[in-house]
């Protein structure tokens, strides 16, 4: 059984259908990429999974449990973290407070502290700036914070919405290295990206979304060599 299983998902904004009968699955331990142009519906899919949006039809199962209509905070407590589009860090709280909020669902103090040490190790910059207000961090630092904050809940799966957005090429490489590390450490990753080349280079499998429908799916390698993908998303 797949870890995350989405079946026949329909999502509407008012009368406009943004997602049309989308199905896909994510197996434990995988990095799955979802790529697509602006407005294809990638964010809509992620928000439906984490319960920020309620789909009109379809089912979303996480480790066998139905997520549709479950409140977001309960979904998070099951072991899912979602790094939203635009980072959405708490600008008026410090870096440290943001990280603590990431561990909100964790009961044990020792566990939280040991995860915090790990996060500081992956992102030394966050440790240096732990007392700084998050809103005053640079864009790249805010992205690190958003990732660190998501890791603080020690999730079994992380949904990432365009982690490379607005970052310099050097930084993009760093972020993708970190995503690989996170995955190696045992966390399943569902990655939404516009930077298709980068996403496909680290993903196991991928789905291509076009105006609310999945049009291509396959292993990342296949997609990297697919002519239509090359033309539309890899700029070759």
């Amino acid at each position: 059984m797949a870890m995350l299983e989405v079946r026949d998902l329909d999502v509407f904004y008012g009368v406009i259908q943004a997602i049309k009968s989308v199905s896909f699955e994510v197996n434990e331990g995988e990095i799955i990429a979802l790529i697509g142009a602006n407005g294809a519906g990638k964010t809509t899919i992620l928000q439906s999974i984490s319960g920020l949006l309620t789909p009109k039809k379809g089912s979303i199962k996480f480790e066998g449990r139905e997520l549709v209509k479950m409140p977001t905070h309960d979904i998070v407590a099951l072991g899912m973290a979602h790094i939203p589009e635009g980072r959405r860090i708490f600008a008026n709280q410090t870096v440290y407070e943001n990280l603590k909020l990431g561990a909100y669902t964790r009961k044990s103090k020792e566990e939280t502290n040991s995860i915090l040490e790990k996060v500081y190790k992956s992102f030394p910059r966050l440790k240096e700036r732990s007392k700084q207000l998050a809103g005053t961090l640079s864009g790249g630092e805010q992205q690190m914070l958003a990732m660190g904050r998501a890791l603080m809940s020690n999730p079994r799966i992380i949904l990432m919405d365009e982690p490379s957005m607005g970052l310099s090429p050097l930084f993009v490489n760093e972020i993708f290295d970190i995503i690989k590390e996170i995955n190696k450490a045992g966390t399943t990753v569902f990655l939404v990206e516009q930077n298709a080349k980068k996403a496909l280079s680290i993903a196991d499998r991928a789905y291509v979304l076009e105006t609310g429908k999945i049009v291509i799916e396959g292993s990342a390698k296949e997609l990297l060599n697919d002519d239509s993908v090359k033309k539309a998303y890899l700029g070759e």
């Binding site: 409140p71 905070h73 860090i89 008026n92 709280q93 603590k100």
Partner: protein
């Protein structure tokens, strides 16, 4: 000089009660982005509950005060649940009108139960005054200082240093992001109403100890003054509500003593207008301006 000091102390005492009430407005605004116009009437309900516990049932004063606070807190949670929660996604005008309606409802209920005639209710505070030189500080003033000080310190600690306080600030800033942290935002909003209304209950106890006369509309005046205080300090800001409340009390008291009793309110509102022209977000408010 003695008169000035006495008026100043009096102003601090009145102002700290305004501050307690203003905290309720500002915290609720911070998390629910609404002005809870029924907040002043919680003070009134608190005063009547205290009266019922103390004078009718005959409970000891301290028990009566605790029952009052708990009752107000539960009332706040209930009002939020039945009247405001269903309107979470409604336009803010609908919420505003509902809040005004809730205010009328509470006043009408107390009118129905207790009638329109003022009821005399002697203060439950039996503390003797203290004398410093030729200045007299009444027992009620002393208790007011002690109680409001404890409430403000406690609240500040809670908001800044506890997990629930951090969750409250997170939900005030970004509700979907707070949910993604695993925070139950609805429950957090409920908690804010509980705290704000408990503080209104405390204010009701202090206010009625001072004025000693019960009327269904008694919450309106302190309610509107505290609202002004919250706006003055910067709506949404907790230290702002404390500062705004205390400033308002002192300005009011000194204007009454030295300028004119009739003009005191005009002076208070005049200062509010000036502050809002110079700094539209209030003294300690964030700079983003939002219409209410």
């Amino acid at each position: 000089m003695v008169r000035f000091l006495e008026q100043f102390i009096n102003g601090l005492s009145v102002g700290s009660v305004y501050a307690l009430i203003a905290l309720g407005y500002t915290m609720v605004y911070g998390i629910a982005r609404m002005i809870n116009f029924a907040h002043g009437d919680i003070i009134m309900v608190g005063a009547y509950v205290l009266y019922v516990c103390k004078s009718i049932i005959g409970l000891p004063s301290i028990v009566s005060v605790i029952v009052t606070i708990v009752f107000c807190s539960l009332l706040g949670i209930t009002i939020e649940k039945i009247a405001y929660k269903p309107l979470r996604k409604a336009p803010s005008l609908a919420v505003l009108i509902t809040a005004i309606g809730m205010s009328f409802l509470l006043q009408a209920l107390s009118l129905l139960i207790f009638g329109a005639n003022p009821i005399t209710f002697p203060s439950v505070i039996k503390v003797s005054p203290i004398y410093i030189g030729s200045i007299t500080i009444s027992g009620i003033t002393i208790i007011t200082f002690v109680v409001t000080f404890i409430c403000m310190i406690g609240l500040t600690y809670f908001v800044n240093n506890t997990k629930a306080g951090s969750a409250m600030r997170a939900a005030s800033e970004d509700k979907p992001a707070a949910e993604l942290m695993g925070i139950n935002v609805n429950r957090t909003i409920s908690m804010v109403f509980a705290i704000g209304s408990a503080l209104a209950g405390v204010a009701g106890f202090l206010y009625i100890s001072q004025y000693q006369s019960l009327m269904p509309t008694l919450g309106a005046l302190p309610g509107i003054k505290a609202f002004v205080a919250a706006v003055l300090g910067g709506i949404g800001s907790i230290p702002g509500a404390m500062l705004g409340g205390i400033m308002l009390g002192v300005i009011e008291s000194l204007s009454k003593a030295y300028i004119s009793t009739q003009l005191a309110d005009a002076i208070v509102f005049g200062i509010l207008v000036i502050v809002l022209i110079v700094k539209p977000s209030g003294l300690l408010g964030k700079n983003s301006i939002e219409k209410v």
